[in-house]
Symmetry: C2
Amino acid sequence: MARMAIKNQGNAVFPDRAAQRELKLEALYEHAASAFNEKGFHGTSLDDIAAALGVSKPALYRYVPNKQALLYRLHCISLDAAEAAVTEGEASPTDGVERLRIALYLYIRSLTASSSACLVLMEEGAMTGAAAAEILSRRRAFEGRFRTLVSAGIRDGSVAPCDPKFAVFSILGAGNWVSRWYRPGGTRSGEDVARIMSRQLVRGLAADPSRYHLDGDVRHAS
Amino acid sequence: MARMAIKNQGNAVFPDRAAQRELKLEALYEHAASAFNEKGFHGTSLDDIAAALGVSKPALYRYVPNKQALLYRLHCISLDAAEAAVTEGEASPTDGVERLRIALYLYIRSLTASSSACLVLMEEGAMTGAAAAEILSRRRAFEGRFRTLVSAGIRDGSVAPCDPKFAVFSILGAGNWVSRWYRPGGTRSGEDVARIMSRQLVRGLAADPSRYHLDGDVRHAS
DNA sequence: TAACCAAGTTACTAATGAGTAACTTTAGCA
DNA sequence: TGCTAAAGTTACTCATTAGTAACTTGGTTA
């Protein structure tokens, strides 16, 4: 058995095993997230997920303590990406409306990049206990930062006066909806989708909409 | 068998009973729809719904043949309202962008008017068999009519050149999201919400966005 | 009054699905 | 080579839940 593997000594511990495990964990997250999105949390059984991964249900318990915890992890992944997007938007050295567009662009792009980041459309009541409260509060804080971006844009004159609450509901709602219809491998990349939609949506709020052209995005407009 | 019911002749048929039944059926639809929206189809048990209505589960089977059929009925109610909205928009004697705005306004208003009309955010895989195909195809046709409105607007010059597919995904996505956060009894009526959002969203697509002012909608923009 | 039927009840069944126990196999390592 | 633990298996348990059967009650009609 020459699976001797000199690997263990110097640097990595169980180099293969750990890497394999990481890959499988990611595959689990991807499959679980897309199944939850399509069939809902309660509509997806662990047997379904296990079968899709080619293992038996108890094998999943080596990776995740239980179904609720799996859902919680997925929501965290999703929120991490969302928060990173808005953070980068906030930090951009430009005016209010552009910061808003950048945050929205990055957020939509994150939704198209991986199913794991797509739990936004999920039924809200699926999570229970303290975890539910935590996720809900992060989600609200995320929306709050978008509202602040809108308010700042109104103050600096780059966003037309409007009610930030509804403005954010509009643009984030449209963004969230992407996870419903976007599937990788279509004619448009995730970046394309994010660019087109973020422009279109922010154009509706801009004090000077002419800054945002849609022309470049025309397809079959006869 | 003279239960041809002489009662039947004059005016009302089983005046009390039938009216009661109708009311209870509507209450069932409302409760079921809002429960499905919050907790998902599979996350909502018939026992839950029955308890909320103050009856026992088997009583529901006097009103609906089974759980799938209940879901189907709710989707039909939802689609009836949606189709009525787009039909009225199409028939409005104005230009393309305004027809689009009117259709969107009526659609959003329908979502705020009753939980029964709100199944849009539901997990798609919940319905099975021929019914699923029928609902999906009606939903697609509905979206297609919106795309046609956008294309017509581009042709008559009232809508800025853009990809109708993404334009419709944006505005309907934002509209659908309303069913997630809107609850009757807030500071804004369903009509308010529909008016504000439809204006804002269509402004992003209009060839001349200055037609759509957001100013009237300002609230706490500090 | 008697018959009837709508509307509801309690008590069940059959299936599904989350989670556990106990066993097997294989990879890594001294 | 032999030890160890990770990774996975089959076989269960227990709770939940869609749907059914059989019975009770009360209003409506002849």
